[in-house]
């Protein structure tokens, strides 16, 4: 009898939607990608002599401001999800757009920072620190850019009323990605600029 009973139940490993499961698998590979980059940075930095004090080169207050910008975008993302779950369409659109704009602000500040640094002679090829700085923050910026595109796509979908209290999966999974980008930036800020 036990076998018959077993034959009647669905048997996914975790009781979550496939979209969420897939997003977590994707994020694991993303974590490993940044592990490769950050790990290399740590090895290169520990192995070299005379590493400069980051504060003497980088514009730490500006990058700190950028951290605040990205952190608040995570907050608006959470508010967007809450709005979707409560079926508040206008609020959902507003928060999605706000999150995308905060992401764009981050990229704008980042771009200003790059140009400024470059003109002061701190380029990708000027020193090992420069190489690491532009490589790590550059790949992170690319992730932010793809996140912004994703958010703008979600915004247009929300404007067409595609989400509701019963259907907010894509907002939730995109939120996971957005928070991941946020966490990576906090780590990069700490290991590149503070220590």
């Amino acid at each position: 009898m036990e076998h018959v009973a077993e034959g009647t139940v669905e048997s996914p490993l975790l009781d979550i939607p496939v979209g969420k499961f897939g997003m977590w698998v994707f994020l694991i590979s993303e974590i490993m990608f940044f592990t490769g980059l950050i790990g290399s940075y740590i090895v290169l930095r520990l192995g070299s002599t005379g590493w400069p004090q980051p504060r003497t080169i980088l514009n730490t207050p500006l990058l700190g401001l950028n951290t605040v910008v990205l952190l608040s975008s995570s907050l608006t993302m959470v508010l967007a999800l809450a709005a979707a779950q409560q079926d508040r369409q206008r609020a959902l659109q507003r928060y999605l757009l706000l999150t995308a704009l905060l992401g764009l602000t981050f990229l704008g500040i980042k771009g200003y920072d790059y140009v400024h640094m470059w003109h002061r002679g701190f380029t990708i090829s000027s020193s090992l620190f420069g190489s690491c700085y532009y490589l790590l923050t550059g790949f992170h910026a690319l992730h932010v850019l793809s996140g912004v595109i994703l958010l703008l796509y979600l915004f247009t979908a929300a404007s067409r009323g595609l989400f509701s209290a019963a259907n907010y999966g894509r907002i939730e999974y995109s939120g996971l990605y957005w928070h991941f980008i946020d966490i990576v930036w906090v780590m990069l800020f700490a290991i590149l600029c503070l220590v």
């Binding site: 009647t8 290169l44 090829s125």
Partner: protein, 573 residues
């Protein structure tokens, strides 16, 4: 009932159906397999008859030198042979085609979890392979730094200037993203879309192999992707992550770091390719011995153990790199530990065969071929793992022989076992068993002649990647072996024509295949050949494992399908 899309483009080209995508992968893989194989023949010709014009095709390929391989072309040949075979031939066939075709059918799903991602995954591979092909025709030719892309040779344009090198890296990076997308689908589909009753203990071993392989890809492929991007930065953006000394624009770069990053992925990669084969062999031995897979649970657990261990043994590729010998010792012990779980599932294979009612079909022959060649590959792996012995055979043909026994012989036979076994399901037609047997017999013979010859010259100190052994006094006695390997390789290449002929002929006018030509128990064989657009009319229910063969209580045959409700009552008695 669902119908396939009407338009040609949506149905055959930009299809989201896993079965069409699997065939796309299969054809791409076979095409590149042929290409990589022809390159191997050019390599073997050069080693057998150094700097002699190649008969027939020589004038076409190397017009500048009267038909002989040039010193510049030789490194390109072995680089592209390796890169193509690993990433564009074997990976598309075993992960792309076998993964895509079998997973949804064997778990009883309509399609993959993310069909559009699946389509994108194939087209990224296609784009990557096109970039690879273009790289042959850019000024300076294709990449020549070896498929391992070792820095600083790869990361400095002073020593490897051509754009072909960049295109090779770019092609690999696209392939990596494609494999990651595929793996995401495999993991999600296997874990989340299993039919009711298909518990993890009832999963075919092939799916376990594909699952572990996808997990390894998810974890380790991003690491090498990061390393490849850093190499590109070193080449074109003036950084010096992996360059040191006079070549470097500034100090601090670490050459050894590249090797760690590469082998951190590179060692799992061999398991990424062999795990699906192990799984497939486990299933095939059971089907064609008409016996349950012996020690199913132990096999699954030992494959898991190997999956875990494979991530922490990469240092055994670097014993002679100048790495701390004490660290090397740790890597040596971990590496040797892998032989324990390997021995467990290997004995389980033999246990499955033991006193079975063996049917020597073509897929079974190839599965038995894997058992044989993998034993040799695995045992010589133990030699390589020993630090003291590795110092002696490092960078010789002994390593090349070992690598090819595991990754060329085992994986190639695994790929053929997959094709011969699944061909009737995929195309609804049967392949000729006679040609198949002939293909197996000749391949088996020539393949062993080629790769065992490499052990002999390798133990004699024959270095890998040299173009002409006759310039070394101590290798002169080995030249006869190089000639022998060359002719055996030609024989191996020619016997593959039997396969191509069989494949195309059966595709066009093979006998119509029944739904279950092998009397196999897993879910894929409960639907018609080829399966309907969305595989299953209704969600199937599963009552037992995939290996219920040789059931003595049955009167109408010797096996149970996974969907057979009688399994419940039989299991009680």
């Amino acid at each position: 009932m669902a119908h396939p899309p009407r338009s040609f483009w949506r149905r055959y080209v930009f299809s989201t159906n896993h079965k069409v995508i699997a065939v796309q992968y299969l054809l791409t893989g076979i095409l590149f397999l042929a290409m990589g194989g022809l390159m191997a023949l050019l390599i073997r010709w050069q080693l057998a008859y150094p700097w002699q014009p190649i008969p027939l095709v020589g004038k076409l390929l190397f017009p500048g030198s009267g038909g002989a391989v040039t010193p510049e072309a030789y490194p390109m040949l072995f680089t592209m042979h390796g890169g193509i075979m690993v990433f564009f031939a074997i990976t598309p066939i075993l992960l792309g085609a076998m993964g895509n075709y079998t997973i949804p059918l064997e778990v009883g799903a309509r399609d993959m979890a993310f069909p559009r991602l699946n389509m994108l995954s194939y087209w990224l591979l296609f784009l990557g392979s096109m970039i690879l092909l273009v790289s042959f025709f850019v000024p300076g030719g294709a990449a020549g730094f070896g498929w391992t892309i070792y820095a600083p040779l790869s990361s400095s344009t002073e020593v490897s200037p051509g754009w072909g090198q960049d295109l090779f890296i770019l092609g690999l990076a696209l392939d990596a993203v494609s494999i990651l997308m595929g793996g995401l689908n495999y993991i999600t589909t296997i874990m989340q879309l299993r039919a009711p009753g298909l518990t993890l203990r009832r999963l075919p071993l092939t799916l376990w192999g594909l699952f572990y392989s996808a997990v390894l890809n998810t974890l380790w492929l991003p690491i090498v992707a990061a390393a490849l991007f850093m190499v590109l930065c070193d080449r074109r953006l003036g950084t010096a992550f992996f360059v040191a000394g006079p070549l470097a624009p500034h100090s601090g770069g670490q050459v050894l770091l590249y090797q760690h990053l590469f082998w951190g992925f590179g060692h799992p990669e061999v398991y990424i390719l062999i795990l699906p084969v192990w799984g497939l062999v486990g299933d095939l031995l059971s089907v064609f011995s008409r016996k349950p897979a012996f020690g199913y649970k132990a096999t699954v657990v030992s494959m898991l153990t190997i999956t875990i261990l494979s991530g922490i043994v990469w240092g055994h590729h670097m014993f002679t790199s100048g790495m701390n010998p004490l660290v090397g010792k740790a890597f040596m012990i971990l590496t040797i530990t892998i032989s324990v779980p390997t021995a467990i599932f290997f004995l389980n294979w033999l246990g499955t065969l033991w006193r079975g009612a063996i049917r020597l079909t073509v897929p079974m022959l190839f599965a038995l071929g894997v058992v044989f060649v993998f034993a040799i590959g695995g045992l010589t792996g133990l030699f390589n793992a020993l630090q003291v012995f590795d110092i002696y055979i490092h960078d010789t043909y002994f390593v090349v022989g070992h690598f090819h026994y595991t990754l060329a012989a085992s994986v190639l036979f695994g790929a053929y076992a997959f094709i011969y076994y699944w061909f009737p399901k995929i195309f609804g037609r049967q392949m000729s068993p006679l040609l198949g047997r002939l293909h197996f017999g000749l391949s088996f013979l020539f393949l062993n002649a080629v790769f065992s010859g490499m052990f002999v010259v390798g133990l004699h100190g024959h270095m890998r990647r040299i173009a002409d052994a006759t310039t070394y006094e101590f290798l002169k006695p080995m030249q006869a072996w190089n000639v022998w390997i060359g002719w055996a390789a030609l024989g191996l290449g020619l016997s593959q024509l039997l396969f191509f002929h069989n494949f195309v002929r059966s595709l066009l006018k093979g006998k119509t295949a029944p739904a279950n030509p092998w009397q196999a128990g897993s879910l894929a064989w409960t639907v018609s050949s080829p399966p309907p657009e969305h595989n299953f009319e209704a969600r199937p229910r599963v009552f037992c494992g995939p290996h219920e063969y040789g059931v003595p209580e049955l009167t109408d045959g010797d096996w149970l399908s996974q969907t057979d409700p009688r399994a419940a009552t039989l299991a009680k008695s």
